[in-house]
Symmetry: C2
Subunit: 212 residues, 2 copies
DNA sequence: GTAGGATGCGAGTGATCCCTCACGTTCGTC
DNA sequence: GACGAACGTGAGGGATCACTCGCATCCTAC
């Protein structure tokens, strides 16, 4: 769960030494979340973030070398939360996956993903679509998805319910379908679809696809 | 297929009277596509667009009142192309949909969507994710999706193969799944999945979901 | 209590970008 | 060929924004 390896231009200026400083750092990240959600990336200015944190810009730049470093930290936190949530939702023993009905493997993962996006709906759009992300972070995301796809492909190949002829392709589409549907619908506040209904329906979709 | 109804701040300054002017307008839109694709929205400056079109900024602003008006026109064109492609891919007679195997209704639509995104991969990301879209245009997109979902829901309810208990929800998820999977994978140049394979697999996914 | 480092401040700098405007060039018409 | 309208030009105004720097204030160790 290591964070993105940062170039020097994205590393914090100095390490906080006093408790006050740690709190200030947290206040900045919190404020950034609110400001980005409300104003979007372009209009989420560092001055606005500092003001929302009850600070001056100068202080903000003591903790983050530039605006994008704040963004990278928010995205990294979200990726970590997602990874943790998915791993926690999976059965502990990978060998046991084949013994469980497919819906009981997929269902909790989808539910975890939906829950992860239930709050801060607008923020996710900003972090993952609107804002430019540094190549290093994109690479990290890609690697994570690749690992997850490989893990899933192995599981699918071994699972008796699965009929998909190409487990690799099926794994890729499964992950993309879950991610993009969750992002698209759970992120849309006007969808009018309850989170649990959405999770159940996405699970139905994926299981149907894999066992067709 | 009317374009987005534009506020006065998005309407063109004047109508082209000479053929040269029409060509200039087209050159600007063409250049904008290339520039947005290469530089993204924020760095796709009007000066760069004008230069890429072999013009000066002043001329650009004779045809478009501001930068966003160019973007609106590009997005509108893409929406229109998508609507046309989907309608053309559907069987002419809506009554006949129930008589056809579901895969033969869904398949051509998916193939049309994939083809629509095969070129200008990066551009779609800029137009539909990165760039801020005016509310009027968002409303138009939503309305289109709502109409399409209603149309599809009716078809699903009448189709003998379909087992989904809630056709409205199923229609919504079907459309979102197709759109978001196409956007995510067809748009990703590094995916390594051939367009026809992708279309076939998305079709499999949707049909499996609807007939599970 | 006091020295020195850590933290906080905010007006200002330089850069970028959208858009305008005063003027030159080309086209269509008679 | 000459006149007016359509079209094209590009330097620069005005605004915004990321980021800096010189200084004030607070904290901690001795």
């Amino acid at each position: 769960m290591a964070a993105t390896t940062l170039g020097p231009h994205l590393r914090p200026r100095k390490q906080p030494r006093q408790r006050r400083a740690h709190e200030t750092r947290a206040r900045i990240l919190d404020a950034a979340r609110r400001v980005f959600e409300e104003h979007g990336y372009a209009h989420g200015t560092t001055n606005r973030i500092a003001a929302a944190a009850g600070l001056s810009v100068g202080s903000l730049y003591q903790y983050f070398p530039n605006k994008d470093a704040i963004l990278v930290e928010l995205v990294d936190a979200h990726i970590d939360a997602g990874t943790t949530a998915v791993l926690a939702a999976l059965p502990a023993d990978p060998e046991g996956w084949s013994a469980l009905p497919l819906a009981e493997v997929i269902g909790p993962v989808v539910a975890a993903m939906v829950a992860l996006h239930a709050d801060g709906r607008g923020l996710h759009r900003v972090l993952f679509e609107e804002a430019p992300r540094p190549p290093e972070q994109l690479a990290r995301l890609r690697a994570l998805e690749r690992d997850l796809a490989a893990l899933l492909a192995g599981t699918l190949a071994a699972h008796p319910e699965v009929t998909a002829p190409d487990p690799g392709l099926a794994a890729r589409l499964t992950i993309d379908a879950i991610e993009s549907l969750v992002h698209r619908i759970a992120t849309d506040a006007t969808s009018g679809i309850a989170d649990d209904v959405l999770a159940a329906e996405i699970t139905r979709l994926v299981v149907a696809y894999l066992t067709a």
